[in-house]
């Protein structure tokens, strides 16, 4: 219990805001953008203090002061009225930024409301609002701006309103699609179920999730508003009393700065605009990356190079009559992130897979079973690294292979049936097409019609008729998609197939169908299968051997009968007790209190000790070694030591 409390304290510190700030400060683009923006805002706010000259008066200015080149007195020269360009620039920042922020506020406000209302209420309301948005989007902004501003008085307020009222279209579209996405999430249904009304749901469930997007969008809208104001002013439609950067450009351009060679009068305000827009764009893109980390590549990729170590000399694993296909010896895989302790996802795991063998790999979520499987192919998120041990596939050491050599093993030798068949299939391509791709990528030149024959053959193998070949994944049911995934895994005649929780999201009946299919494929094709699951019941039906993992280490490994009838590790025993037994339905279910350990904050002793009902003091202090009991049966527990 104590260990659990400590763990709570460690994580209790994180809050979304702190997390956000941490990622934000690590994003260089966002930080640079923020610094650029804050600088110019400070300049605008403290214009009186910073500007060397007062721009509001023309006192002490003579005709000789016009278009003076940069000097010590006027760092950036003077303008057509003999005023200091640098001071004008500073005061101009105030006006340009005011226009930018206020106009953007109006745009975001209107766009946000229209987007949320359209997305949330749907139906006729949505149709009406979105068609209106479309019309507004089609009208070219600038000419309309010019027309409206020309018709109204060129006052700063009017300009702000006009720019604001025309700039909301993209925002409303983005917000609408985000609202649609959020609306369909289950917690909105839950809110309805507790009796919440529409306003409550919008305020508490839609808005907080639309907000990040709105902020990113706002930043881009601000820069657009500043550009629009500059354009208007440059065209001579600005407020003549408000000297914005655009107005400065307009005056310089209209009053002979070019012919006088006074480049400074044009370059300085121009640079100001570039500075702000660049700053905002950097900040916007940076924020987008921070708020939406999925934009970052987070796909499976070849991991870091293997740290070569001597494989431990653990006692040889029992040989069986059938040849060994895959031998994993003391494999350790860590996730290494700078500035954090390594997550020891897999530690010293060994197992042997014979030809035609079906091994069950059982463990709770987060116990390292998926990492172990991806590790066999050296595929995992970038932070993963093999830090020890060996993987031998058909006598060749996978850990020592080059990327090129690995390509021969991946899919041709060992293939994977991924969890969640819907996500692992490309929704816009037909099933047949995707299987074809898997064949072409790996099998050297096959004539076109041969490939098609092979696709049909593979589909037939998994029980899908040929007429479903050109269907898209959405036309398949859950069970059929999983079958298609299996066909894809079989495309290159692999010797080993890893099935990563292939039945988890499926109904019991479909689950039974898939299990039956895998079992028959094993018999027909002589496949070796590693079946990854959290459900001990599933594997009992068909496995030869079972490896039970807990918190990244082997808890127990043996043949199937031993695991179910004479398990020695308390975790295995508890897992079996937690199973509903239909013959004694009234019996209370045994459960394992507590939660599996976090892989970056592991207990000092046995990883199961905090939840173990029979733990002794030693278990909390010392990690148990893997004890060989007899034959293939191993368990890592102090209590089996005799």
């Amino acid at each position: 219990m104590e260990a659990q409390l400590v763990e709570h304290k460690v994580i209790a510190k994180s809050s979304p805001f702190l997390d956000f700030w941490k990622t934000f400060s690590r994003n260089r683009m966002a930080v640079v953008g923020l610094v650029m923006l804050v600088t110019i805002i400070l300049v605008a706010v403290f214009a009186e203090q910073i500007a060397p000259y007062d721009v509001t008066t023309s006192a002490n200015i003579t005709s000789r002061d016009i278009y003076k080149p940069p000097s010590a007195a006027h760092w950036f020269g003077t303008d057509d009225a003999g005023k200091d360009v640098f001071s004008n620039f500073i005061y101009g920042a105030r006006i340009s930024l005011t226009v930018g922020f206020f106009a953007a506020f109006i745009s975001i406000f209107i766009g946000g409301i229209i987007g949320i209302v359209a997305g949330f209420y749907g139906g006729r309301v949505e149709n009406l609002l979105m068609r209106f948005t479309d019309v507004m989007l089609v009208i070219p902004d600038l000419p309309l701006l010019v027309v409206i501003v020309a018709m109204t008085k060129p006052k700063l307020m009017n300009i702000i309103f006009v720019i604001g009222l025309l700039g909301w279209t993209t925002t409303s579209r983005i917000v609408r699609s985000q609202t649609l996405a959020v609306k369909s999430r289950k917690f909105v249904l839950r809110a309805r179920a507790i009796g919440a009304g529409n306003m409550h749901i919008i305020r508490h469930h839609i808005l907080p999730l639309v907000m990040p997007l709105l902020v990113v969008n706002a930043i881009l809208v601000i820069s657009l508003a500043i550009l629009n104001e500059s354009t208007l002013s440059f065209l001579g439609l600005g407020d003549p009393t408000a000297l914005s950067w655009g107005q400065m450009l307009n005056f310089a351009f209209g009053r002979g700065a070019m012919s006088a060679g006074a480049w400074w009068a044009l370059v300085v305000p121009g640079l100001g605009i570039v500075w702000v827009v660049l700053g905002l764009t950097l900040l916007g893109h940076g924020l987008e990356q921070v708020l939406n980390p999925r934009l970052e590549t987070h796909h499976l990729m070849p991991g870091r190079p293997v740290v070569q170590t001597e494989a431990g000399n653990s006692s040889p694993i029992l040989r069986s009559a059938r040849p060994v296909l895959l031998e994993v010896r003391d494999l350790s895989i860590h996730y290494i992130t700078e500035g954090k302790p390594p997550a020891r996802a897999v530690e010293n795991v060994s197992f042997t897979l014979h030809e035609g063998e079906l091994m069950g790999l059982v463990g709770e979520s987060g116990c390292g079973k998926t990492t172990l499987m991806l590790g066999l192919l050296r595929l995992w998120p970038a932070a993963g690294q093999i830090v020890g041990g060996k993987v031998h596939f058909m006598g060749r050491d996978v850990t020592a292979m080059s990327e090129q050599e690995l390509l021969d093993v991946r899919w041709d030798g060992i293939s994977i049936i991924f969890q969640g068949a819907m996500n692992a299939l490309n929704p816009v391509r037909t099933i047949g097409d995707q299987i074809r791709e898997a064949i072409i990528k790996h099998v050297a030149i096959l004539p076109g019609d041969k490939v098609d024959d092979r696709v049909v053959e593979l589909l037939d193998l998994v029980g899908i008729t040929a007429d479903h070949k050109e269907h898209f994944p959405y036309q398949y049911s859950g069970g059929m998609r999983q079958r298609a995934m299996i066909a894809m895994a079989l495309a290159c005649n692999p010797q080993v197939v890893i099935a990563d929780e292939p039945t988890t999201a499926l109904d019991v009946m479909i689950q039974a169908q898939i299990l039956e299919l895998l079992d028959s494929l094993r018999k027909r094709l002589g496949l070796s299968i590693i079946f990854v699951t959290h459900d001990l019941g599933v594997v009992a039906e068909m496995c030869d051997s079972v490896l039970v993992m807990y918190g990244g280490v082997t808890a127990e490994y043996s043949d199937v009968d031993t695991i179910y009838n004479s398990a020695r590790h308390p975790y295995t025993q508890e897992l079996l007790k937690a199973f509903p037994d239909l013959s004694k339905p009234e019996k209370r279910l045994a459960s394992i209190p507590g939660y599996p350990p976090r892989l970056d904050a592991l207990p000092a002793g046995c990883r199961f000790a905090p939840r173990c009902p029979v733990a002794i003091e030693r278990c909390h202090l010392e990690q148990p070694a893997l004890h060989r009991l007899n034959g293939r049966h191993v368990a890592s527990c102090h209590l089996v030591e005799e």
């Binding site: 409390l5 249904l189 009796g195 001990l536 019941g537 179910y564 509903p580 239909l582 045994a590």
Partner: protein, 326 residues
């Protein structure tokens, strides 16, 4: 004759429009999600609703919740017909009927703290203007749901909790209103086996301590034994077998129930047995099969089954099934 039940569902139907008449077809198509379901529930009773996905069990739950309008039939809850309750009455009902959803990873708003989530029903129903009382009720609900001590969870966010803990939060937020009826829609199917037992035990305890009636929806007959009093097996929108838990598990009559029972994984290789694996999947509920709707997948179907829609046959008191072969 008419006995008053805590909840009574009479001939409930829920059809969804699947296709409007258009140029090519004048036919209006319907998805028969719930097709003539009758059942009743007593106070403190737990009934398990079992079937594959697409059998209409979740739609039935949403209709009972009032989140979907029924097409036909009646729902009588605590003596009052709530089939066509207006918005105001619906809101009051929500205090009595609460729901626990399947996916604890999706059903919590990631931007709310646990305290906000559990307090939300109280806020929505304006039940506790007094902040201290609200806090006390939130703490009590969390502790009743097994999150003890509640203090360490209040300020945390869903992503900091494990799946089992999140499901407890969902249960706590349903309990905080002290409902009389809980609809649990596959509350454990997304959880690891080791956590499942805890959540099932929690629900069983709640029923005992609070006298809550529970409708427990699942696709896995294996989990119902622990606390269901009765079991109703659904197929394509209709209840095909219903009876006391022991009767159904030990003496299943409908071939579909038998098949479902036979595929429950048994965690012992020595007990491997003959399984009845039905081929194919639940057919599309738009074009229902003629006669008995189970006949295309039924291992014992005959010509008669193609023609006649079987009526319920009473096997034992309160145990009936709809099959011609009984």
């Amino acid at each position: 004759m008419t006995q008053e039940y805590f909840l009574e569902v009479q001939n409930l139907k829920k059809y969804f429009l699947a296709g409007k008449p258009n140029l090519f077809s004048r036919k209006v198509k319907h998805v028969h999600a719930v097709d003539d379901v009758s059942l009743h529930l007593e106070r403190g009773e737990v009934i398990a609703l079992v079937g594959e996905s697409g059998c209409g069990k979740s739609t039935l739950a949403l209709t009972l919740m009032g989140l979907e309008k029924s097409t036909e039939g009646k729902i009588i809850f605590e003596g009052i017909d709530i089939t066509h309750a207006d918005e105001k009455a619906q809101k009051l009902l929500r205090q009595r009927i609460q729901m626990v959803f399947q996916d604890p990873y999706e059903s919590l708003n990631p931007t709310q703290t646990i305290e906000e989530i559990v307090a939300e029903p109280l806020v929505v129903h304006h039940l506790t203007p007094d902040l201290e009382e609200r806090h006390a009720r939130v703490v009590r609900a969390l502790e009743d749901a097994g999150l003890k001590p509640a203090d360490i969870y209040l300020r945390r966010f869903p992503h900091e909790l494990s799946g089992g803990q999140r499901q407890r939060v969902v249960i706590a937020s349903a309990l905080v209103l002290e409902p009389h009826l809980l609809l649990a829609d596959e509350p454990v199917s997304m959880l690891d086996v080791s956590i499942r037992a805890e959540i099932l035990n929690l629900l069983a305890d709640l029923r005992r301590s609070r006298q809550i009636s529970i409708i427990f929806i699942t696709h896995d007959l294996g989990t119902v034994g622990y606390f269901a009093d009765r079991v109703a097996v659904m197929y394509l929108g209709r209840i095909v077998e219903i009876g006391k838990m022991r009767d159904v598990l030990e003496n299943p009559q409908h071939p579909y129930t038998k098949a479902l029972l036979s595929v429950i994984p048994v965690p012992n290789p020595r007990l491997r047995r003959e399984r009845v694996i039905l081929q194919g999947e639940t057919p599309n509920p738009i074009d229902l099969p003629s006669g008995c709707r189970f006949h295309p997948r039924c291992p014992i179907a005959t010509e008669e089954c193609r023609q006649t829609d079987p009526p319920y046959v009473e096997i034992a008191p309160k145990h009936k099934a709809a099959c011609l072969k009984i």
